[in-house]
Point group: C2
Chain length 245, copies 2
DNA sequence: CGTCCATTTGAACCGGCTCAACTTCCGTGG
DNA sequence: CCACGGAAGTTGAGCCGGTTCAAATGGACG
């Protein structure tokens, strides 16, 4: 499972510079350090169910989780993808508003809600950072609304791939050397739930991109991009990702 | 146009208790008072264009505005509906990320960005309130993602009507007396852009609801709801709006 | 009364969904 | 080592909801 994180000090934390605590001074970190506890969740397990009483908030330390909503008849829509450093839970709210599910093994840095809220009152840096992060998430949600409301299946798939690539690039910073390649962190079904499609349509569009030589599949999940420009065109977004603007 | 608001004191402001300033102490209000200026925009006018340099932030005092994104080929998706007390702009960002358009005459309470950001640093209450508001908007955006990704045209229309009714109820608090009725603040096209549909589909679904006796139209924009329970069923959401839960 | 714009309605089309069969890839146990 | 079972993914065929294109209707305003 996840590596042993029981004794990591905040100062050495891998998400130290991006998470909700990133603006904190050393003394503020000490408070957090004494408050926090780690929790690991196996791939596929649900972290919280929508409607559950939630007595903690947390940062994702490693792994990937999803936020999703489900209607009575089973239709589900993913409404967020949580990556390392992302925040789970809402200060000032008792029940979870969404299902939170681990898609890979996940390690959480948790804080009991009450003490965290009190600390937040005394520590503006936390609230400031949380505001920034929330505004970023709001932007991401709105970009996703355009995708869900107006893009074609083809554009949706291309956009998702482009986003995953961009994220990988910004983390692994493996620059523009060889042919881009990466592993899909999501099953076809999860992709479908994210994109507002059926898994069959996802599969067909991925196959089509393969058939046309834009991408190549190695196994089910590993993707090699042969024609990045073409992929970006297929997203339907303007500009070339901001390079030529 | 909009009423003369040039000399309103913050203490007497109609959105005093809901806007970004709602947590402020009297002395903090004084600072805001000296910083603010009003601006009115006519119905149909664009307040800011996506990409524009934005040197101010603002609260909506009266009227309704929309946030929307447009693709090169003209497809547009509304990503937010701004009502009185809602906040426009993002502290710490230079360019507008969306088109902001007045759908009715709008009055804005503006602050130049720089001074506002400085005031925010000194006044945690503003940041705290902005965080609350942003979290609420994020929830609304995510609810909208479910609608865009998974709901049928019929459900989308019913949901939009239900939301407008709920909002009216919470503002006008006209309680559950006579038959619910209200004016649509949006054209069919704006509704379509909001719901990720075409205006023809919107029109057809509204007509269908009328034909089935769920609602009645008086003119193009005025709607009378004859069967609220039925309308709520048609939204596809679980529960009866939380009343019976 | 005529013009303009919002809205409605109709008819044909098509993208994505549904249902169903098949394939691949695993892990597990004989 | 292979057989088995199950989960994940692929592919096909037909259908249907929503779009597209086009024309008609209605309402507000000069």
């Amino acid at each position: 499972m996840a590596s042993d994180t029981t004794s990591i000090k905040c100062g050495e934390c891998p998400i130290r510079h991006r998470a909700v605590c990133s603006k904190c001074e050393p003394n503020e970190l000490t408070s957090l350090d004494s408050l926090k506890y780690y929790r690991t969740v196996e791939a596929g397990q649900t972290i919280v169910w929508c409607g559950d009483e939630m007595d903690f908030v947390a940062s994702i330390v490693s792994g990937i989780a999803t936020l999703s909503q489900t209607m009575e008849d089973g239709r589900t829509q993913m409404v967020g993808l949580l990556l390392p450093s992302d925040f789970v839970g809402r200060p000032g709210r008792a029940q979870a508003a969404y299902d939170v599910t681990a898609t890979t093994d996940v390690t959480l840095c948790c804080f009991r809600k009450k003490p965290f809220e009190e600390l937040m009152m005394r520590t503006p840096h936390i609230g400031q950072r949380l505001l920034e992060m929330t505004l970023d998430e709001l932007d991401a949600a709105r970009e996703w609304m355009l995708l869900l409301g107006r893009k074609t299946a083809r554009e949706k798939i291309a956009t998702l791939l482009a986003i995953i690539i961009r994220r990988d690039a910004s983390l692994n910073l493996k620059a523009d050397g060889g042919p881009l390649e990466f592993d899909l962190p999501l099953t076809r079904e999860a992709m479908a739930d994210y994109l507002g499609l059926t898994l069959e349509t996802v599969s067909r569009q991925v196959s089509a991109l393969k058939r046309e030589g834009v991408i190549e599949l190695r196994g089910k999940r590993h993707i090699i991009v042969h024609d990045m420009d073409r992929l970006l065109e297929e997203t339907g977004d303007d500009s070339d990702g901001g390079i030529l603007t």
